[in-house]
């Protein structure tokens, strides 16, 4: 009796887990499935889970769409550049907060943490005017350059927590041998925080790749559009028929890099290293 009850509980558990998994992945499945359909099938009143005759027409069409291809290149280009600058500067600042003792460190650290409360959108208006003065509107500069100044307090915090766990004796013995901070940072500390760096890089990548608001405000011209901005223009609320297969094809191609990055980073992220410093 007791074991039978346990087995039933187990089965119910798996049913729930499988059901939730299906629901969570369904939008992705639907995206892929719809990209292989014809326009009639995407608007059909019946349930078409998988198209009877999958067609690659939408893919062929989109590979001839120069606006889309350029938006893809723009996204890759700006994400890479901003990612490198942000990752490096965030690591440098995290080093200052964890491995060096300097007067005012606690005050500055507290200030940095409190900026997490400031929504970036609250700064959009004055930043826009500032970039306008620099004649940066209509260029990639406003969405790339600010990251170089260690943009992202949460990321600094995350790396600082990781760096603070490394025994300080390691640095001290290196200093005995005549190393300086730059050398210790590059040769000793960075190699020891590879996993947290991978997590931070993933978060930064996802944030940049998905970003809509800032590119929308600053880019202004179609030739500079990143993927989220360009893809949003494919869906036009005022037209009677939406080209769903085309939109979904663009969507699939937009999400592929996210999936690849997630596949490689999930082992770090899902183990919860990220939040180990949260307690209390």
């Amino acid at each position: 009796m007791h074991t039978a009850w346990l087995i039933i509980k187990r089965i119910v558990l798996y049913i729930f887990l499988t059901g939730a998994t299906i629901m969570m992945c369904f939008p992705l499945f639907w995206m892929i499935s719809s990209s292989l359909k014809t326009l009639q099938e995407t608007n059909s009143p019946g349930i078409v889970l998988v198209p009877a005759h999958p067609t690659l027409a939408a893919y062929i069409e989109i590979f001839h769409n120069t606006d889309f291809l350029r938006a893809y290149f723009n996204s890759v280009f700006y994400t890479t550049l901003a990612l490198i600058g942000t990752l490096f500067s965030v690591a440098v600042v995290a080093y200052a907060f964890s491995r060096i003792k300097w007067p005012g460190r606690n005050v500055v650290f507290f200030l940095m943490l409190s900026t997490m409360m400031i929504p970036s959108q609250a700064l959009l208006v004055p930043q826009y005017v500032f970039f306008n003065k620099l004649h940066w509107i209509g260029s990639f500069n406003p969405i790339v350059i600010p990251g170089f100044f260690a943009g992202g307090a949460a990321m600094i915090f995350l790396l600082r927590q990781a760096m603070a766990q490394i025994p300080i004796e390691l640095d001290e013995s290196a200093f005995m041998d005549g190393a300086n901070h730059l050398l210790v940072f590059w040769e000793i500390i960075l190699p020891l925080v590879k996993a947290p760096l991978a997590i931070v890089a993933t978060f930064l990548f996802v944030g940049l790749w998905n970003s809509l608001l800032a590119p929308l405000i600053y880019l202004q011209t179609v030739s500079l559009y990143t993927l989220p901005v360009y893809v949003s223009t494919l869906y036009n609320i005022n037209s009677a028929v939406q080209p769903w297969p085309t939109i979904m094809t663009a969507a699939v191609l937009t999400t592929v890099p996210l999936m690849v990055v997630f596949f490689f980073a999930q082992r770090y992220i899902l183990e919860g290293i990220v939040i180990s410093g949260l307690k209390g």
Binding site: L17, G46, P126, N132, A150, L212, N238, L258, F262
Partner: protein
């Protein structure tokens, strides 16, 4: 300035790096000089130099991109500044704030909509995240796969591409979600009653919130009098003002994986002995959860609540992608950040937009402060 945008940004990035290096050395040297002046030891002078040298990318960025903009926007919020005409800003005192708080119906809608997301959406989101975390904590086979699936929406996030996939699924007539609801309702009549009940309650709540923002409760009364909807009714996800916010809630709940991960960490931190002791006393699963797990998870609930609330106030992408230019739906769905975008970057009313920014900022600080004050009453830190 070069014509090629790619070379342009690369050059500017190089300039930015040079600028950062120079200011860092400047700030570091200044700090060292000050340390020397106060009579610090040679060693301490050096660490002061190194500390400021390494921290200054953030310090300089904080000044340029946070403090100075905040100062400017505070000033502009008291003016009628518009970026399109070259006229200097005129001081108009508290007019912007008075207009926003007392007269602006769009702004009021955005606050009420945010209230809906935080009071209806956020609890559902946290509950689902907690439920999934408890399920995953049962040490199942293929746990990693389930974790991946539950976290996947967080990575996809509010990317336009994913939002458009949702838009397709949420089509009222031919969308797959409503198709499935119709098919299930025909197959199992009890399911039909369940959905109609949910539709009724949801529309009642939404109509109530629409009533708050417009001051008229006629719609609420109509929904109430109509009673349980007809048998063939389906949710009108992105077609009706009664459902526009619920679609956003659906998206929020879908993306609850980050919260789930935090709960999972919390569940793992609960000492095994507590559950063993309860087993000896013959506690059932329900008691295990409510008497042991949940009280010890309250710090994590609190964390998710704080972070979730700030996230709710900042929602922009779903509303832009789903409802932009859809005039009848915009007021029923707009968030505060969407309203900020609309005022500042569609109408270029910088003064007005600055006032909105400051109100959003103050609201976030206030709400967070209140949460921290209230946490003593229900958050349990004793074990930690």
């Amino acid at each position: 300035m070069t014509q090629n945008p790619y070379i342009d940004v690369l050059l500017n990035a190089l300039l930015a790096v040079l600028f950062i290096i120079i200011t860092s050395f400047g700030l570091g040297s200044l700090a060292r000089y000050l340390a020397k002046w106060t009579g610090a030891s040679k060693r301490k002078q050096e660490s002061t130099f190194a500390g400021y040298l390494f921290a200054s990318p953030w310090i300089v960025g904080f000044l340029i991109f946070v403090i100075i903009p905040l100062g400017y926007s505070l000033f502009w919020s008291f003016t009628d500044y518009r970026v399109t005409d070259n006229a200097p800003p005129n001081w108009i005192g508290l007019d912007n704030y008075a207009q926003l708080i007392l007269k602006d119906t769009g702004f009021r809608s955005s606050i009420v909509n945010t209230l809906f997301l935080t009071s209806v959406g956020l609890p559902v989101m946290i509950a689902v995240a907690l439920f999934l975390a408890v399920l995953l904590n049962q040490k199942t086979r293929g746990e990693r796969l389930f974790r991946m699936a539950f976290y996947l929406p967080v990575i996809l996030g509010f990317n336009t591409a994913v939002l458009l996939s949702w838009r397709l699924m949420l089509n009222t007539g031919t969308g797959i979600i409503n198709q499935l609801i119709r098919a299930l309702s025909t197959a199992f009549p009890p399911f039909s009653y369940l959905t109609r009940g949910i539709i009724f309650i949801q529309e009642l709540i939404s109509a109530f919130f629409l009533g708050i923002s417009s001051g008229k409760y006629a719609l609420f009364n109509r929904v109430l009098e109509a009673g349980l909807p007809a048998a063939n009714r389906v949710p009108l996800w992105v077609e009706s003002p009664l459902w526009s916010k619920m679609s956003v809630v659906l998206l929020m709940v879908w993306g609850c994986g980050a919260m789930m991960l935090i709960f999972l960490t919390g569940l793992n931190n609960i000492p095994r002995e507590l559950h063993d002791a309860a087993d000896v006393d013959g506690a059932n699963d329900w008691q295990h959860f409510w008497k042991i797990s949940f009280p010890l998870l309250t710090p994590y609930v609190f964390y998710n609540l704080v972070v979730g609330l700030i996230a709710c106030l900042q929602i922009f992408e779903p509303i832009y992608v789903l409802y932009r230019d859809n005039q009848p739906l915009v007021p029923s769905a707009i968030s505060m950040v969407y309203y900020l975008w609309q005022a500042s970057f569609r109408n270029f009313e910088i003064g007005y937009g600055s006032a909105i920014s400051w109100l959003v900022l103050l609201l976030i600080l206030m709400v967070t402060a209140i949460q921290f004050m209230l946490q003593k009453r229900w958050v349990n830190y004793e074990l930690y």
